[in-house]
């Protein structure tokens, strides 16, 4: 097991926890948090792979590329924006339906 594998294992764990939370929790807020976990797992993957798995620049120069870290930072920014939009939507939904439980939010049923 190389060093990279440990990082990837942690990322898989994070992703699965996030997925479990997304599927299992009924509150929209909790689902959003679980989603953030999954995004964190992706970011971790990106950083780990670009730093440790012999990314584009390392073989040529011996320097560790910083491109992965830049992408990770952008991902965090996107996640924050997404969280802001989602939360504002949840507020609107709460006002409309008096609930943020996903089970109460379905109107089209067969």
């Amino acid at each position: 097991m190389s060093q990279l594998h440990w990082y990837l294992l942690v990322a898989v764990l994070l992703f699965c926890i996030g997925l479990y939370g997304l599927v299992q929790r009924r509150s929209l807020i909790a689902m959003l948090i679980a989603l953030e976990l999954m995004l964190a797992a992706i970011s971790l993957n990106v950083v780990a792979i670009t730093s440790l798995a012999g990314g584009d620049a390392e073989s040529a120069t011996g320097n560790v590329s910083s491109a992965g870290q830049v992408v990770a930072v952008i991902l965090i920014g996107v996640a924050a924006a997404e969280g802001a939009i989602a939360l504002s939507l949840f507020v609107a939904i709460q006002r409309e339906v008096q609930s943020i439980n996903v089970e109460d939010l379905s109107e089209l049923k067969g």
């Binding site: 997304l22 599927v23 299992q24 996903v102 109107e107 089209l108 067969g110």
Partner: protein, 634 residues
């Protein structure tokens, strides 16, 4: 266009125009509607009279035809008129009788809610029959033939809100349709062989050495004859006519004299050379006619409804006309058609006067309502019955004499003997009708005296204009029965120049035998019904089984109900089952399947977003696994 052509078009289309205006625009104005319809038919009558004069020269005939739809080199659709003595005199008879019936109906139908509709249908009937009579080719004949059937359907079922007239109208339409299938096939056969089957072409093609072979002529004649049998109520297809009595009485007068039933006989006269070229068919027709004449005479001998007696007598007389035609004389058959039109219309219209007053068709009822107070009715009934029986100065004598002469010349002695027997029976049942209607039954008269008085009081107070019109029409027709009989030689010179001309008062053995038989028939009727203390029961009615047999159309209707009608009904039920179950089932199943399938698939639509998410993730994982496997393989 020449003058005669224009007159012929006027004779046809004046009633049509009147009918269209009445039916479309004048339903709310009955008196205007009646006046317009009468005017239309009067124009037609005048035009027909002029036409008769225009083609009265022996051997003259005019054909004008315009192709309106060319199909290919030899097949076209054309509309035209064929004018000769046969068609123009028939047109005159048709329009004359229609006019008489219309004038009469102003009284008879007064106050009926469907008054305007009635006149519209009468004018339609007049148009259809005029078109049939004057038509130049067989396809046109076929079209008007069906229109005549439609018009009679509408008029027989005029009181359609009651069950019996509606059923009678359907029966008339469907039974004639059975024969019309043959007629259609015959016309198509002739059209296939001759292209545009113009009537003179057909006649020319049927002559020896013409375009038609002997077999084709035989088949075509037999098929056309099927239509004639249906239309003219002969042989096995006669039972619609007695039921058609459910229509208003003036309609019966029209239907039985100049239109509808006359159409079949007229067609045989029109295409007489074609039919003569098929001797086997003619022999069959002769026997069919003689059997029909005798069978319906026995039915007329036991009927107690005055209109039914007249209906059976019509069938019997039509059979006589066909007998004359089948025996080879076009004049005899057609002459009887003309005289019969006059006296049968007269009989129905006089019967209508009695029915109008007694409010019953039953002759025994009528005799209890002082029938002799109806002067015009009495004169009409007696004159008409004398003509029907063949009493000497009346029209029926001369024409029936011509037919018996033709049968004597062209058929076997056995047929002739049967024809004479039929003449005797005719005399018997017509005077049975006269005595039953006009002589009050001494035994029951006292009982029916009281209601009769109420009616008499109303009658003696002067008559309405409508009743005067009824009486006047009947008197005019009664006068005609004394005149029409002298038409014979005039017709003969123009219709069949080859036949020997017979003077009206030429007494051979045949005429004397016929007169003797007629006198015997009348005497028997007088003994049984007329004299004081008569038993008022005929020799046939004394045997209940025979009376029932004859009173029920010889059980033919029962036979049809038990066989053909039942099979047709079973077939109809099977078709209905097929329609309801198989056809409807297929479409219903398709719709139900779609709905059910939708329901089933909708169960997937749980509304639970996390379930969707799970499915999506699993599918993505499966996709990733599959793609990974593919790429792993080098």
């Amino acid at each position: 266009m020449t003058g005669p052509t224009l007159a012929a078009l006027l004779a046809q289309f004046a009633p049509l125009a009147a009918s269209a205006v009445v039916l479309l625009a004048l339903r709310q104005w009955p008196r205007t509607a009646a006046a317009l319809a009468i005017a239309g038919v009067a124009v037609s009558f005048a035009a027909s009279a002029w036409l008769v004069a225009a083609v009265a020269v022996p051997g003259r005939s005019l054909l004008a035809q315009a192709v309106f739809l060319p199909l290919d080199a030899s097949h076209n659709l054309a509309f035209g008129v064929l004018l000769d003595t046969l068609s123009t005199t028939m047109a005159l008879v048709v329009s004359g009788i229609t006019l008489a019936v219309m004038v009469y109906s102003t009284g008879y139908m007064a106050g009926d809610p469907g008054y305007a509709r009635y006149y519209g249908f009468l004018a339609l009937f007049g148009w259809a029959m005029q078109g049939l009579v004057l038509s130049a080719n067989l396809l046109q004949t076929l079209a008007f033939w069906e229109l005549v059937g439609l018009a009679s359907f509408l008029l027989i079922g005029f009181w359609f809100e009651r069950a019996a007239p509606a059923a009678a109208a359907r029966k008339a339409f469907i039974m004639t349709r059975v024969g019309d299938v043959g007629f259609l096939l015959g016309v198509l056969l002739l059209i296939r062989t001759l292209g545009l089957a113009t009537i003179p072409d057909v006649i020319a093609a049927a002559a020896p050495g013409g375009a038609l072979g002997g077999r084709t002529i035989g088949v075509a004649a037999a098929l056309l004859l099927m239509g004639v049998i249906g239309k003219s109520a002969q042989g096995p297809l006669f039972t619609w006519l007695p039921d058609a009595m459910e229509g208003p009485t003036p309609v019966s007068a029209l239907l039985h004299s100049a239109t509808m039933v006359a159409a079949g006989v007229y067609l045989v006269a029109r295409l007489h050379p074609l039919f003569l070229a098929a001797p086997d068919v003619m022999r069959a027709l002769l026997w069919l006619a003689i059997v029909t004449a005798l069978a319906t005479a026995t039915m007329a001998m036991v009927a107690t409804d005055i209109k039914r007696v007249l209906a059976y007598s019509t069938i019997s007389q039509l059979a006589y006309m066909l007998m004359g035609l089948a025996a080879g004389s076009v004049t005899a058959g057609y002459f009887h058609l003309v005289t019969h039109a006059g006296f049968k219309a007269l009989l129905f219209l006089s019967a209508g006067i009695f029915i109008h007053h007694a409010h019953s068709n039953d002759m025994r009822e009528i005799s209890g309502h002082e029938p002799r107070a109806q002067r015009a009715g009495v004169i009409g009934l007696v004159a008409g019955s004398a003509a029907l029986a063949g009493v000497i100065p009346f029209a029926g004598y001369f024409s029936k004499e011509a037919i018996l002469g033709a049968v004597g010349a062209g058929a076997t002695p056995l047929v002739l003997a049967l024809a004479y027997a039929g003449a005797a029976l005719t005399a018997y049942y017509s005077f049975r009708m006269v005595f039953l209607t006009l002589v009050p039954d001494a035994r029951t008269h006292g009982l029916t005296d009281a209601p009769a008085h109420g009616g008499t009081g109303a009658r003696t107070h002067g008559r309405t204009p409508g009743e005067q019109a009824m009486g006047a029409t009947v008197l005019v027709l009664a006068a005609l029965t004394l005149v029409l009989g002298y038409l014979g030689p005039w017709l003969q010179v123009r219709l069949a120049p080859g036949e020997a001309v017979r003077a009206p008062f030429e007494f051979g053995t045949g005429a004397l035998v016929a007169l003797g038989l007629v006198a015997a028939g009348i005497a028997l009727a007088w003994v049984e019904f007329g004299r004081a203390g008569a038993p008022r029961i005929g020799f046939l009615e004394r045997v209940p089984a025979i009376a029932r047999f004859c009173g029920d159309n010889w059980y033919l209707d029962r036979l049809y109900r038990a066989t053909v009608v039942r099979w047709a009904a079973a077939l109809a039920r099977a078709a209905q089952w097929n329609d309801r179950t198989v056809v409807d089932g297929a479409t219903d199943g398709m719709a139900n399947g779609t709905v059910g399938g939708g329901r089933l698939l909708a169960l997937v639509q749980s509304g639970n977003v996390q379930a969707y998410l799970t499915v999506a993730v699993l599918l993505l994982a499966a996709l990733a696994y599959a793609l990974g496997r593919v790429t792993v393989v080098p």
